[in-house]
Each structure stands twice: as structure tokens, then as C-alpha cells.
């Protein structure tokens, strides 16, 4: 489903050229649960931005469901982000003025889905993450764990090809982190592909497969033997 081939990313910082990714090849299939790990500066954020279609590689090929996406226009990328990718961010990235329901409806707004269907699907997604009783709460009226669950509901509401989570537990306490990992586990069990970027080993151990980056290259790609499940 996700096929990366020789992906390079070079940033120009003034006169200095920084090679964040030095040729990454990676294949992720439907139904997988992959953790991308590595220390800061390893290039994992850059890789996540490229996989998430927020950024384009300097060189290499990225095929999403068989379609080459590394050369698409901004609007085409926006379209694919809308339909194929569900983002979960470290800082939740909810819109503060909107309540939980409206936040979950947001991607469907840009997909031009009629309002009644939007509402139905948003309610269902909020039910899946266990927040049916908080739909009219605004983000500042919710705990961190609850906010992240709203974000997950927003990520899954368009039935994307995969969930892309960037340090999903980075701002959460242990109890909330476990809650979120449980939801990820359930979603993956139900067939959702999850790609998760983290620097915490015990969070990474919830995944089925770990891809380790160092200095812009994959240094390890292995299945998790002592996986944490619920």
C-alpha cells in the first residue's frame, strides 16, 4: 500500500545542505501496525511528513495504493490527505472554537459530504473512541486523553487507507497513553493500518513491526517479539 523507493530529502539551510533522508526504501501493507522509531535528528519526522503527503521528497519514488504521489500538486495532495490519510498529532491539533462533533466533521466538510451524513458518521466515529457523551464539549473542556480520542475519531471518519500518528502519547500521562494504545490496538484488530512515529520504546512495542531510523537511513526493520497487546 505504501511503497517508498530511495527516498531522499535535502533541506537548504542558507548555504548548508542538510540531507535529512539519505535513501529510504520501505513497504507497508494493508493491515500492518508499524512503529517508526529513532532519536531526534534521525529523520523520522521528515519521513512522516513525506508519508503523510505534507511534504515532497527531493528524490525517490512514493507510491500510495500504486499511484506515484511524489510529483502531485498541492491540491492533489490535499485531496489524498483528505481521503487516504488520518492524522493523529502529538498536540492533538483540534480547532478550539469547534466542539468535538464539529472537529470530527471537519475532514468531511472538505470532502463535500452532506451535513446529515457528516453528523451520522461523526457520531459513529466518536462512539468508536468512546466519547459519545462528550460530543458538544469543546477541546478545552476535555482532558488530554479525551482530546486525543476526538483527534482519532477525526482521523478515522473518512475511512482512510492508514492512520498516521506522530508521537500520539507524547503529551499524555501514562493512563491516558494506555487508553490511546488500546484504541489503536482495537482499530488495528478491526483492519485499520497504523503508522506511528515515536521515540518511546514501550509505545513502539504496541506495534507489530518496528522500523528504526538513524541519520536518515533505516538501520533496523523487524517484527516485535514482545508485543504489548490488550
Amino acid at each position: 500500500m505504501v511503497e517508498l523507493e530511495g527516498i531522499k530529502k535535502v533541506y537548504s539551510l542558507g548555504k548548508v545542505q542538510v540531507e535529512a533522508l539519505k535513501g529510504v526504501s520501505l513497504k507497508i501493507d494493508k493491515g500492518e501496525y508499524v512503529a517508526i522509531v529513532g532519536p531526534s535528528g534521525s529523520g523520522k519526522s521528515t519521513l512522516m511528513n513525506i508519508i503523510g503527503l505534507l511534504d515532497r521528497p527531493t528524490a525517490g519514488s512514493y507510491k500510495l495504493n500504486g499511484v506515484e504521489v511524489s510529483t502531485l500538486s498541492d491540491d492533489q495532495l490535499a485531496y489524498l490527505r483528505n481521503r487516504q490519510i488520518g492524522f493523529v498529532f502529538q498536540s492533538f491539533n483540534l480547532l478550539h472554537r469547534l466542539n468535538a462533533l464539529a472537529n470530527v466533521e471537519l475532514p468531511m466538510l472538505y470532502a463535500k459530504i452532506p451535513s446529515r451524513e457528516r453528523r451520522e458518521r461523526a457520531l459513529k466515529a466518536l462512539e468508536i473512541v468512546g466519547l459519545s457523551d462528550r460530543i458538544y464539549h469543546k477541546p478545552n473542556e476535555l482532558s488530554g486523553g479525551q482530546q486525543q480520542r476526538v483527534a482519532i475519531a477525526r482521523a478515522i471518519v473518512m475511512n482512510p487507507s492508514f492512520l498516521l500518528a506522530d508521537e500520539p502519547t507524547g503529551n499524555l500521562d501514562t493512563a491516558s497513553s494506555i487508553e490511546i494504545m488500546k484504541i489503536f490496538h482495537q482499530l488495528n484488530e478491526a483492519g485499520t493500518t497504523i503508522i506511528m512515529v515515536t521515540h518511546e520504546q514501550d509505545i513502539a512495542n504496541h506495534a507489530k513491526r518496528i522500523v528504526r531510523l538513524r541519520d536518515g537511513l533505516i538501520v533496523e526493520d523487524s517484527l516485535v517479539s514482545n508485543r504489548i497487546t490488550y
Partner: protein
């Protein structure tokens, strides 16, 4: 569907920054309000003046002596000129001489200043004079130079205590000579004396007397102008030049007379109104420009404040166009609300100011449509740059923004 959602977002954003948005709107409000006030007062004034003209008739012109040439005794307008205009010019319906003289009018009790208008029977048909009691001058009055007079209603009340003083006698003349005239009619005073107070005392009696009688009691009186009414407005220009040529041939002179008509006066009035409107329009334009810059400024602030929001929206699938539309709708909403408040304020101002200058304002649909058009245009024009800036934001940079 998306437009409506974007509109809701705009309203929420405006409501969460009420004071800021209101201050931003002020330029638009002032601009639109001043346009609406001036345009509606202008339209009201124009209608009032047109109505006044229609009462008199737009197919009337007057012949006068030019005041920039030497005038010899033989050049002065005469009753024969009036007679000839009536007889010789087929397009002329009525023609009446006018000779004015300030003098005094006396009853047993009072002496008052009076403006005597010496004229003839046709004057009643040409002018807007309304005879409310008795009758106007007739052919015999003129022919015989009868000592008859019409006075205005307010003076009648002042002098006799009641309106209908037909049949009463009054002494008229200048300081050293008086003649007794019989009142045959009372004319409407118009609203001259409704002003009240001390001004009313300054206004003389308005009196119409036969021109021939006037010539008897005021030997030095001259016909200052001849009023002429044509059958149709289209004959006005032709009849004017014909009348001048006729009089010139009667007096054996040239270039001593001029004609005036209400059409040219109306044109002059419209020209002045036009200049006035242009000046106010320019002021309003500047105000709208300043208001627009205010909107642009506040939208740029808004884009910066909401960088993160833009990043989130882009991450979940908003295209450039979607972000662009969202911010454009917000700026248009601000300017439209400003425009609406401006229209309302303009309407109020026009109705408050109107009575003081005796004009009933007319708020036309056109003025409102133009106001809405301009506020939308300002919103779009000054909203485009901030909206483009928002649309162009790189989602990664925007998401990282705190």
C-alpha cells in the same frame, strides 16, 4: 454547501472579536452612511424642486433686459411687446408682463410695506398663484386700468383679521401718494410666512394689481420681464428666440434682451447637485479605501493568529481554494455587515437631518444596492491578499506554528 460553512466560521470569528471587528468596520460604516445620507437627501431635494417646477410649469420662459448692456428708454419692454408676442407667435399660449414695485399699503389701522406686482390676466395662468377667494385680474381690469388688487392670505389676516376680505378697500402707494384700491381676490401665501417670529414681520404684503393701474400710480415703474408660456415644453427654445427677435424688430435694436427658463435653471441645479454628489462620493470613496485597508490589516492579523488552524485544515484535506474562500468570506462578511450598518445609519441620519433643511429624504433601492455592491467589492478587493497569504501557507510550517 461549503460557502455556508465558511460563512458560519466567519461569523464565529467575528463574534469572538467583536470590538476589533467593529472598529475595523467603522471606515465602511462611515463611508456607506455618508453616501446614503447625501444621496437620499439629494434625491429628496431634487424631487421637491422638480415638484415646485411642475407647479409653475416647465414650458415657461421669461424675457428680460440684459444687465450687461446700455439701456436706452426705447429699449424697455412695453405692453405692446406682450400683445405682439401673444398675437404673432403661434406656439405661445399665454404671455404676461411683470413690473414690481415696493410700496406701502394702508388700512384704517395699519400701514405695511407691500410688494406690488403689476401684471395682467394671463399671469394667473402662468404662475403658481392660487386664488382662494374672489377672482384674479381679468381683461377689463387691464383695459380700463381699474383700481383693483389681490393680496395674500396672511396679509389679509394681519390687516383685517380674517382671510376673505374681498370687497374691502385698501390704500396703496408710496410715501407721498396713495390711491384707494378695491380688493377683488385673496391669493395663497405659500409657506413664506409660516416661518413665524420676527422674520414674518419683515415679509411685505404680496399684492397683484393690473399693470395699467400700476403705471398710473407708480409713474416710474418699468416692465422688468415678460413671462411666456408655450403650448408644449418642446417649443420652449424656438419660442424664446422668436420672441427675442420679435421684440428686437419692434424696438429696432439688437442683443439687448435675454430669456431664461426653468429648464436651464433645473440643469444648473442638477449640475450643482452633481458636483456636490461627486465631492461627497470622493469623500466616501476615501473612507471606503481607508476602511478597506483596515479590513486588510485585520485579516492579516487574523491569518497570523490562525496559522495553526490553517495548518490543521490543510492537513485534513482543505485545498488552497477552500482556505482562500474561507478568509474571503470573512472579509466580505465584515464589510457587508459594515455596509448594512452604514445603510441603516445613513437612513437614520437622512431622516434626522431632512426636517431641518425641509427635505423629505428618498432612499432608493438603487442607492442600497450600490452600497451593498461597494461593500462587497471592498471586502473582496482588500480580502484577497490576506486570503492568498493564508492559502499559500505550507502545512508543515503552519502545523508547527504556536
Amino acid at each position: 454547501m461549503y460557502i455556508w460553512e465558511a460563512f458560519k466560521v466567519a461569523i464565529e470569528s467575528i463574534l469572538s472579536n467583536k470590538l476589533r471587528t467593529f472598529l475595523t468596520m467603522l471606515g465602511i460604516i462611515i463611508g456607506i452612511a455618508s453616501v446614503i445620507t447625501i444621496v437620499s437627501l439629494g434625491a429628496g431635494g431634487q424631487k421637491a424642486i422638480l415638484g415646485e417646477f411642475e407647479k409653475i410649469g416647465v414650458n415657461v420662459f421669461s424675457i428680460k433686459m440684459r444687465n450687461d448692456v446700455d439701456i436706452r428708454e426705447g429699449d424697455r419692454l412695453t405692453l405692446r411687446d406682450v400683445e405682439m408676442i401673444r398675437k404673432r407667435l403661434p406656439s405661445v399660449k399665454y404671455a404676461a408682463p411683470v413690473a414690481e414695485k415696493m410700496g406701502l399699503a394702508k388700512t384704517e389701522k395699519y400701514t405695511k410695506r407691500a410688494l406690488f406686482i403689476g401684471t395682467d390676466f394671463d399671469y394667473g395662468n402662468i404662475s403658481s398663484l392660487k386664488v382662494i377667494h374672489g377672482r384674479f385680474l381679468n381683461e377689463k381690469d387691464i383695459l380700463l386700468g381699474r383700481n383693483v388688487i389681490l393680496i395674500d392670505k396672511d396679509s389679509a389676516i394681519e390687516l383685517f383679521g380674517y382671510e376673505d376680505c374681498v370687497g374691502k378697500s385698501i390704500k396703496i402707494g408710496t410715501y407721498y401718494y396713495f390711491d384707494t384700491a378695491k380688493i377683488i381676490g385673496v391669493i395663497d401665501s405659500g409657506n413664506l410666512k409660516s416661518l413665524g417670529g420676527s422674520i414674518a414681520d419683515q415679509i411685505p404684503i404680496i399684492a397683484a394689481i393690473p399693470i395699467t393701474y400700476a403705471q398710473k400710480i407708480f409713474p416710474d415703474i418699468n416692465i422688468s420681464q415678460i413671462y411666456v408660456m408655450t403650448y408644449d415644453q418642446s417649443q420652449l427654445e424656438e419660442a424664446s428666440s422668436q420672441a427675442v427677435r420679435l421684440i428686437e424688430s419692434l424696438h429696432h435694436n439688437k442683443d439687448k434682451y435675454k430669456t431664461e427658463n426653468l429648464i436651464s435653471f433645473l440643469e444648473e441645479f442638477n449640475r450643482i447637485l452633481g458636483i456636490f454628489t461627486t465631492v461627497i462620493g470622493a469623500i466616501a470613496g476615501i473612507s471606503l479605501l481607508v476602511g478597506g485597508i483596515g479590513i486588510m490589516n485585520i485579516m492579516l492579523v487574523s491569518v497570523t493568529e490562525r496559522t495553526k488552524e490553517i495548518g490543521i485544515r490543510k492537513a485534513v484535506g482543505a485545498r488552497r481554494k477552500d482556505i482562500m474562500i474561507q478568509f474571503l468570506i470573512e472579509s466580505v462578511t465584515i464589510s457587508l455587515i459594515g455596509g448594512a450598518i452604514g445603510i441603516l445609519l445613513g437612513y437614520l441620519l437622512a431622516n434626522i437631518v431632512g426636517p431641518f433643511i425641509d427635505i423629505k429624504p428618498i432612499i432608493s433601492i438603487n442607492a442600497i444596492l450600490i452600497a451593498f455592491f461597494f461593500s462587497t467589492a471592498v471586502g473582496i478587493f482588500f480580502g484577497i491578499y490576506p486570503a492568498q497569504k493564508a492559502a499559500k501557507l505550507d502545512p508543515i510550517v503552519a502545523l508547527r506554528y504556536e
